[in-house]
């Protein structure tokens, strides 16, 4: 390791802060908390000087990799550049100094921003109402399925089957299981779409919902979406839209137009708020009018010129999160929405799709493209004939680190062998894409000419190849003093 843990830098008695004198009457902690809640051992906080602390974290930050440093084509994650204006807005003192218990009349600006964001997101997704509450994508999925469950219950229906395609994000079956449904998988056809005939066989009077991502995780538009929606609706089931791939379709089509009933979005993907350690996330959920009474409460509503938190929703599934969502994240997304506008958002999706198709065509002669169609905002590919050299996709991804890239998603979706999933996003220019494509070709050559070099990669990073197997089999999750 090139940098010790902060705990290893600790020396007894070394201090980096000076606390002001206490100006309120002190009370012993054992008078405030019951005995069984009191810590028995001393808290092992690191003891370091201010300078030690600053140097430690500055050194770590210089080893860090983010989209502000370089290209980050991590498929399914939409690691686009987040404009700094969004951070500026979220840092305005009028937002940062709010307290969640303030009276409504003193937070009208914040409530108006939430109200507008609800409406904009509803319009973009073709839904009738939106809740900003869920904390992130998977939490949005759970919220959506609980809404579906409550809706079915209110109609006196007992349906417990949720259908997911075999290309689905792993969160879809996990969410359905957590929400108490039985999960059934349908396979994909040779064009990478949901196999409509297989779906028809699975859908029945017990089907609560089909969870679908469109474009799907192969980066392909579900061409039979209208037919799929009909099959599910005709059987009395609902359609759930996993909004992870919304970056491909803004202003061009919408889940509502496709026939979906419930949608979650990832503000930290499509709507340009940071994620991947820079979070927190935010996963708003939208619904068609019939499902609106079941949304989590409170919703933000406008009553004449007054904005308020609305709790009078007797059928609501309740609260999904403390207070009023990841408010700072909503401020960033709102800033992005109004700075892009209608024309800008459409252009975002057009460029996201154009960039992905350009990169796919640049790599097509060198990597196998299993579904040779126009892709949407991302595409899947896999290496040809490298297995004889013992070089796997994992090795190629590790070698990309040496070239200064965050590698694409690998080994997902599960239905394509040794897969790589690339999503360049709309914010990259042609030069970056060309250079990346050239370097991927170079790495593929290395894999043939000098496979050992690729298999031992990365060579130029602060730490080399990590032992992921031991880390997974015997994880050490907590520092303990040697």
């Amino acid at each position: 390791m090139t940098e010790p843990l902060i705990f290893e830098l600790s020396r007894p008695g070394r201090e980096g802060i000076q606390l002001p004198d206490n100006d309120v009457p002190a009370k012993a902690v054992n008078e405030l908390l019951p005995a069984d809640m009191l810590r028995q051992q001393e808290l092992q906080l690191p003891e370091t000087s201010e300078l030690d602390t600053v140097r430690h974290f500055t050194r770590l930050s210089r080893m860090n990799y983010g989209v502000d440093v370089g290209f980050y084509p991590l498929g399914s994650c939409t690691m686009k550049y987040n404009p700094k204006i969004c951070e500026d807005a979220a840092n305005l003192p009028g937002f940062t100094r709010l307290h969640p218990y303030q009276p409504e009349e003193t937070v009208q600006g914040a409530l108006e921003l939430m109200y507008q964001t609800q409406n904009y997101l509803a319009e973009i997704t073709g839904m009738d109402a939106m809740s900003l509450q869920p904390a992130a994508g998977a939490h949005g999925e759970l919220t959506g399925l609980l809404i579906i469950k409550a809706y079915l219950k209110s109609k006196g229906e007992k349906r417990n089957k949720v259908i997911v395609p075999d290309s689905a994000h792993g969160t879809n079956p996990a969410t359905a299981t957590l929400a108490g449904f039985d999960v059934v998988t349908v396979k994909s056809d040779l064009r990478g779409n949901v196999d409509v005939e297989a779906l028809r066989e699975e859908v029945d009077g017990n089907t609560a919902a089909l969870m679908l991502t469109n474009p799907n995780t192969l980066g392909l538009f579900e061409e039979n979406i209208v037919q799929i929606a009909e099959i599910v609706h005709d059987a009395g089931g609902l359609l759930y839209y996993d909004g992870a791939n919304m970056n491909a379709i803004m202003g061009i089509t919408s889940p509502g137009d496709m026939g979906f009933d419930v949608v979650h979005l990832n503000l930290h993907k499509t709507f340009s708020t940071p994620h991947g350690g820079g979070g927190p996330g935010s996963g708003p959920v939208g619904v068609k009018a019939e499902l609106e009474p079941f949304l989590p409460k409170p919703l933000v509503i406008r009553d004449k010129e007054f904005y308020k938190l609305y709790y009078d929703l007797p059928l609501s599934i309740g609260k999904m999160r403390s207070f009023y969502a990841s408010f700072g994240v909503v401020v960033k997304a709102y800033t992005y929405l109004i700075s892009q506008g209608v024309v800008g958002l459409k252009s975002v999706s057009e460029h996201a799709v154009l960039n992905a198709n350009y990169l796919m065509r640049r790599l097509a002669g060198h990597l196998n493209i299993p579904f040779d169609r126009t892709c949407m905002h991302e595409f899947v590919c896999n290496p040809r004939g490298l297995k004889e050299n013992g070089v796997r996709t994992l090795d190629l991804a590790k070698r990309m680190l040496d070239y200064g890239y965050h590698p694409p998603t690998i080994y997902f979706p599960l239905i394509v062998e040794e897969v790589m999933m690339m999503e360049p996003t709309e914010t990259e220019n042609k030069e970056t894409l060309d250079e990346f494509a050239d370097n991927v070709v170079k790495i593929l050559q290395e894999a043939v000419e000098d496979p050992e070099k690729v298999k031992a990669a990365p060579h130029d990073t602060p730490v080399g190849r990590l032992d992921e197997v031991t880390a997974a089999r015997n994880p050490v999750l907590r520092y303990s003093k040697k």
Partner: protein
């Protein structure tokens, strides 16, 4: 080319089945363990659990992915390989012997006709390569 021993039956979900009278021992094939990569965790059922064919019997997790293990035949669990709990890598090292996963008592021997022979499974792998 992956190892497909004689004398076993196979399923399209890449399980192998060793039959001894009314008892069937089940594991995952060499092809399956190779595709999964290093296995880091195995979730086993309990003794006496009953399953219908094609039910999910347990889960194998590798550094790449978590995958369901499907039971190719209906029956009741009579033995589980507890060694896999502490040493999941046994499946990678020896998928057909020490890496067995469960043994079941068959409840419907007519299902045996649906299983693949060594040759069928070989052909199935080639077809899907």
């Amino acid at each position: 080319m992956s190892n497909i021993p004689e004398g076993l039956k196979y399923s399209k979900e890449h399980e192998w089945i060793r039959l001894e009278g009314n008892k069937a021992t089940i594991g995952i094939t060499d092809y399956a363990q190779d595709s999964l990569g290093d296995i880091v965790f195995v979730e086993l059922p309990n003794i006496d659990d009953e399953f219908e064919s094609d039910d999910v019997l347990g889960v194998v997790e590798s550094v790449k992915a978590a995958s369901d293990i499907y039971i190719p035949l209906s029956g009741k669990i009579v033995e589980i390989n507890e060694e896999l709990v502490d040493s999941p890598e046994t499946i990678n090292e020896d998928p057909y012997e020490k890496g067995w996963i469960v043994a079941i008592e068959l409840s419907d021997t007519s299902q045996l006709a649906d299983l693949l022979s060594k040759e069928d499974y070989e052909a199935f792998l080639e077809e899907n390569a």
